[in-house]
């Protein structure tokens, strides 16, 4: 286990993972939810709260939220991070926690998040400032930015609305196998195409949910991981790239920072896309998994639409993508990245029930933040893949 490409491959592991309150979670606050998920993840690991000495969290509507969960849980973390890269923050936390663990700066990292916008609607003014260079043109935030990227992909590569709809239908079919998923009724390509258009080419069914949910994971060094309750899930690679903030400054609307973070994470892990059994891709909108499949190397640039066609990423298809039902059909409480990691852990442990991928040994979780602005890729395995 040497340091490769700047990352301590396999020297830290995820040992606890949990979700809480997916779908509707009324009557309590976001920090209540994050605390519940955190305690469930610690119980899953067989680690006591007092062992936690690092906290990574993203409070939904509180600019100083990095400290709230520490206070709530009675922790005195040596490292606290509240990174502002949107939904990708959690994949970045895995990277940062692995480095801090390997350096010996910390011994036990808790990564936790809770948000219930469906039950407890956010205040009128959010944490996001409106760009003075975009706001006068009234784009729907963030939807129209993704729609602009989709328009460009369709123009250059002939990607179709039917291919976008395939992503939504595949997610729904996976959700139907996941009792935790919030939306499980049948969905057809025709229904997606016939749904209310919101910002061309994206209909309301091309958009992720905006519901409640909390999640947490616990990370320790490999030696400590051996004594935990369940088989550890070693972190094999983790890389991040930020290319812009607003869509008008995206260097190329059809190439995301995943084209940087993906190859770096694969190089750290000594793996290639063909090795991966379970692919968890942030699906804020149906265009995003198509872009990430290309940028991460699962298919050539421009081929993403054709790649997802014919149920290729649906249950029984050629590549298992977003097996929990994704942000499109399972859960998306504003920042979804942590749920990608929990599902990857469940698949690698063989805990995924009806949707379990047989002998899943290697998984990828790819987080996205902003408007295709921040991209972070994490590769996870099992001890035998070290």
């Amino acid at each position: 286990m040497t340091m490769t490409h700047g990352f301590p491959r396999g020297r830290a592991a995820i040992v606890g993972a949990a979700t809480f309150g997916i779908g509707k979670c009324p009557g309590i606050s976001a920090v209540d939810m994050a605390a519940k998920a955190a305690l469930l993840a610690l119980a899953d690991a067989g680690i006591s709260l007092s062992e936690v000495d690092a906290l990574y969290t993203s409070a939904p509507y509180e600019a100083l939220g990095g400290m709230e969960l520490a206070e709530y849980l009675g922790l005195t973390p040596k490292v606290t991070d509240c990174n502002r890269t949107g939904g990708s923050a959690f994949e970045v936390y895995v990277q940062q926690a692995a480095l801090a663990l390997d350096a010996g700066l910390i011994n036990c990292a808790l990564i936790a998040y809770g948000s219930n916008p469906a039950s407890n609607p956010p205040p009128g003014v959010g944490m996001t400032r409106q760009s003075p260079w975009e706001a006068p043109y009234r784009p729907l935030a963030p939807l129209s930015s993704y729609a602009l990227a989709a328009s460009r992909h369709m123009h250059l590569y002939g990607t179709t609305r039917e291919q976008l709809a395939e992503v939504a239908v595949a997610a729904r079919q996976w959700a139907q196998l996941n009792p935790e998923a919030a939306v499980r009724d049948p969905l057809t390509i025709e229904e997606v195409l016939g749904a209310r258009m919101v910002s061309d080419p994206l209909t309301v069914r091309d958009c992720c949910l905006f519901n409640d949910g909390a999640a947490a994971i616990v990370m320790v060094r490999a030696d400590r991981a051996r004594d935990c309750a369940k088989a550890p899930i070693p972190v094999l690679g983790a890389a991040h790239a930020v290319t812009h903030r607003e869509i008008s400054s995206m260097p190329d609307l059809t190439v995301t920072g995943a084209a940087i973070s993906g190859p770096q994470a694969f190089a750290q892990a000594g793996l290639a896309p063909a090795d991966i059994d379970v692919v968890m891709l942030y699906d804020a909108f149906t265009i995003t998994p198509i872009l990430f499949l290309e940028d991460l190397g699962f298919c050539p640039k421009g081929e993403g639409g054709r790649f997802v066609s014919g149920g290729h990423i649906a249950p029984g298809g050629g590549l298992a993508v977003n097996t929990n039902g994704g942000g499109l059909s399972c859960v998306h409480p504003g920042m979804y990245g942590l749920f990608l990691l929990v599902e990857a852990v469940r698949q690698l442990r063989g805990e995924a029930g009806e949707r379990q991928i047989a002998d899943a040994r290697l998984a990828l979780a790819h987080g996205n933040g902003g408007v295709l602005s921040s991209e972070a890729t994490v590769l996870l395995g099992r001890n035998e893949t070290l």
Binding site: P136, Y137, S144, L148, S151, H155, S199, D200, E246
Partner: protein, 119 residues
């Protein structure tokens, strides 16, 4: 000390669409800032944009009443930078990628606004 946004808005209010250019690198910059992205060059001066551009990407924000729907575009300026705007003078559905456009300053909500019309 330059005041990028305030100066740009003042030019716009005066009927001029200005962008920045670095004296040393020759690179054009939009949105206005204190240094050129990538190089950090601080020797930015205001130059009048040609106003010529091409629609790079387009979406239509749909409203209940189709008459209220409107387009949002990204325009590649002839000078290089890309910006968000709107194409006026065409039904929203007719605004397509590749359309050649020309800048125009209009009044909207008592403020000057940069939009584009078909060239």
């Amino acid at each position: 000390m330059s005041k990028p946004e305030a100066e740009w808005l003042a030019h716009l209010a005066g009927g001029r669409f200005m962008i920045q250019r670095s004296r040393s690198t020759g690179g054009h910059v939009f949105y206005p800032r204190v240094a050129e992205p990538g190089t950090g060059a601080e020797d930015l001066e205001w130059v009048e944009a040609s106003g010529e551009g091409v629609v790079h990407a387009v979406t239509v924000v749909r409203k209940k009443d189709p008459a209220d729907s409107y387009n949002v575009v990204l325009v590649d300026l002839a000078e290089g930078p890309r910006l968000m705007s709107r194409v006026d003078g065409l039904p929203a559905d007719r605004v397509a990628i590749g359309l050649k456009v020309r800048a125009r300053i209009i009044e909207e909500g008592d403020k000057p606004l940069l939009v584009f019309i078909p060239a």
